[in-house]
């Protein structure tokens, strides 16, 4: 970040001096963005490693892994992974991936770095709050990690933490003591950090746009981050409230989620009056919007990249904005589709079902618009574009299985089977992760002034997309056969035992994909030092981040006051000199 320091005087945004102020407790949105991305990278490595451990046990349940016994002496007694350790690994895997990878990187990470620049601002509206949010997130991650190593074992109640299991404490079995308490605490802290970030993003987008950056000239990425933040602002507090109540149940002896008359481990419980289903309502009122918090930035990134590398305006910009909003809004009234089998009134289930199918409509509109954007384009084959196309593919593949799950009559068969696991890994695990890959390759030259290796990127793309499809398409069939999720092994049931060969296949595919991620890691760290130097406008793109140096100076725009004259995706304008026109370009030869 040094080469352009000279341009950044004059505006009163003097760059901070000293390592700590500059890189650790920095209030610069760009540094914070990169910090989030590396936090996410660390989480992804951990989460992936955990998923490999799950695949080991699922494929070879009784086998011994003496090496792993060295690392986790209590989790692998005698070298065999214990079932409760399997559940602990599953819980941490899900939590890390959903919260610390997919909520932080696409929204807080890339959003932090790119959003202010794309609207022509010099920083976030609240830089100090931004820094505090980041460090609060770090604390949440540390608390989560601590939960794995406390007395009584890591939490085992899944990323959804349904009570009574999660509320009863040690008495309900291993892994439900202090570890579970820390898990809830971690999530509560995470909620706080996320809603403060969301508040920051919304204020920044509304208040800090440069001259001429009217709402309808904002890149779709900005719309997506803005909407996802709005959703986050309204969803996270509800989980926070639920978390507080769950903590009270555990620590203060209340019974919000605990009914009367329970007998646990032979002991008659004194709780009474509460309802376990209440938690499910609170959790999913947050949880469903959460999946859109995850996917909306990915949709924005995909739109942005597909338009750029098709050299075409995004098709139906207005409809895209409307669809983003519709998804965000309808997302708040469909949470009951996770609860068709919970004992909720069947009539209510019917209403949720129809509402859920409605949310598919704006989603499908986005797919149509992406396809229409490709039509007639001059499609460039960059790694970033490949990942974005992968996103579209995963979104369709994972989305259409939602049509089955959304119907209660069918879902009471598929609920809590591997069909659901396949659904959400494809649409969330893969679509959203591919949007991270796409964004990383796309903005890396802006962040570090160097390209990532295209060749390595493409190799990684091909192995990963083939690999994950061979993990998760077969997984649907496990669900078809009725294999329940969160089973430490399938050997106890006659109808499941015959699925073992498929399970082993899935595990091998998973190991290949896991190993392939090393290519990505290598590419990231290699390119930071030795990548090919990138010019300011690395991809001949149009939005504001490409107007300024790579990497940008501390105050982004230096002496320049950005002024915006046109929409974000002016590619291939007839008669124009080049096939792209920057948003800041005033004169157009030929005309529109």
């Amino acid at each position: 970040m040094s080469s352009h320091a000279s341009t950044s005087h004059s505006t009163g945004h003097a760059a901070p001096q000293g390592f700590i102020r500059k890189y650790v407790f920095s209030t610069d949105h760009k540094v914070i963005g990169i910090q989030y991305i590396f936090l996410g990278l660390f989480s992804a490595i951990l989460g992936t490693a955990l998923s490999m451990m799950m695949r080991l046990r699922l494929a070879w349940p009784g086998s011994q892994f003496p090496l792993l016994e060295h690392i986790f002496p209590t989790g692998f007694p005698g070298g065999v992974m214990s079932p409760e350790f399997y559940l602990a690994v599953l819980t941490i895997h899900g939590t890390i991936m959903v919260f610390f990878l997919l909520t932080t990187v696409p929204l807080s990470g890339f959003g932090n770095y790119i959003l202010p620049i794309q609207i022509g601002a010099r920083d976030m509206a609240f830089p100090v709050l931004n820094m505090l949010s980041y460090w609060t997130t770090v604390v949440a991650l540390m608390v989560l990690m601590a939960s794995m190593f406390v007395e009584g074992g890591a939490p085992i109640s899944g990323w959804t933490a349904y009570p009574p299991l999660s509320a009863l404490g040690k008495i309900a079995g291993p892994g439900l003591g202090a570890g579970q308490t820390l898990w809830i605490a971690s999530i509560a802290i995470f909620c706080l950090a996320s809603l403060l970030t969301a508040l920051n993003f919304i204020t920044t987008t509304l208040n800090m746009r440069a001259a001429g950056m009217s709402l309808m000239r904002m890149p779709l990425t900005v719309w997506a981050w803005f909407t996802a933040s709005t959703v986050a602002l309204l969803a996270f507090p509800v989980l926070l409230g639920g978390g507080i109540l769950l903590l009270l149940d555990r620590l203060a002896g209340t019974s919000f989620f605990l009914a009367s008359g329970m007998v646990v481990s032979g002991k008659v419980m004194t709780n009474s009056g509460g309802s376990p289903i209440l938690w499910q309502h609170l959790f999913w009122f947050f949880g469903h919007p959460e999946v859109y918090i995850i996917i909306l930035p990915g949709m924005g990134i995909t739109s942005h990249i597909i338009s750029t590398f098709s050299r075409k305006p995004i098709f139906a910009y207005k409809a895209m904005v409307a669809a983003i909003f519709a998804i965000g809004f309808i997302g708040f009234i469909v949470w009951g589709h996770h609860m068709f089998a919970s004992g909720m009134s069947p009539l209510v289930g019917m209403v949720f079902s129809v509402l859920t199918l409605t949310v598919g409509v704006p989603s499908a509109i986005k797919v149509f618009n992406w396809l229409a954007t490709l039509w007639g384009g001059h499609i460039r084959c960059t790694a970033s574009m490949l990942y974005a196309l992968g996103f579209v593919s995963f979104f369709v593949t994972g989305g259409v299985t939602g049509l089955l799950l959304a119907q209660p009559a069918i879902d009471v068969y598929f609920h809590d089977t591997y069909f659901v696991v396949a659904h959400f890994h494809i649409i969330m695990g893969l679509a959203a992760v591919f949007s991270i890959f796409a964004a990383l390759h796309f903005w890396f030259p802006k962040m570090f002034g160097r390209y990532m290796s295209e060749t390595l990127g493409k190799v990684h793309f091909w192995i990963t997309i083939t690999g994950v499809y061979s993990i998760f398409i077969p997984m649907h069939f496990l669900g078809m056969a009725g294999a329940p999720r969160r089973y430490a092994q399938f050997t106890e049931f006659a109808y499941l035992s015959k699925l073992q060969p498929l399970t082993i296949h899935i595990s091998w595919a998973a190991f290949v994909v896991g190993a392939a991620q090393l290519i990505l890691l290598f590419n990231i760290f290699r390119s930071m030092r030795w990548g090919k130097r990138a010019p300011d406008n690395a991809w001949e793109a149009t939005t504001l981040e490409w107007v300024i140096p790579s990497p940008p100076p501390h105050d982004n725009f230096g002496d320049m006051e950005p002024v915006v004259y046109r929409g974000p995706y002016e590619f291939s304008v007839p008669g124009a000199k080049a096939d792209f026109i920057l948003q800041t370009e005033q004169e157009v030869e030929g005309g529109e």
Binding site: L199, F236, G241, T254, F256, T270, Q586
Partner: protein, 207 residues
Amino acid sequence: MMNSGLASENWNGGGSPYAVGHKKLGMWLFLVSDSLTFGSLLISCMYARTASSNWPTPFPMWPSIAFASLMTFCLLTSSLTMAFAVAASKRGDRAAAVKFILLTILGGVAFLVLHAREWLHLIDEGVRPWSNPWGSPLFGASFFGLTGLHMFHVFSGVVYLGVIALGTRNGKRSHEDVEVCGLYWHFVDLVWMFIFPLIYLMSVSPK
């Protein structure tokens, strides 16, 4: 900065398109979010209440409700003084603003003290988060959970007011800061206006 290429209905950058500064907008957003946190707790407590057949109604008009009304009065008055503080700071009368903020703090502290007494009194009567002498144990859970979170907000508000009072006195805080702080304080007051009827008035003992 106005350029010919810029259509006049377009936004011109800089300050605040909707005539709200960052801090005020940020506070509004926080309050929206916070009201959902309270909302989820309130809804949970109401859910517990409707689901229980033996929800107690232990508060006699005298002294419980009267006492709680006094607390409400303290909080309401402090909202009023806060409004005066904002008005004073708008006039640029910093001394008056500080005076009214201090009065607001007084109201807040009075509320906290009375509330602490109320807690002790109920604990004395045997109310616990997990049980109480009269019926559904969730009564105590709801009471302590909701009022506890609210007290925490009042307490934070008192600290916040203190910081603003200090800053206003030595001229480090602007009028906007006072106004934003006022927003928070009115919100805390408003939340109490939900808790008071739901916890107290709906549990007035029939006798």
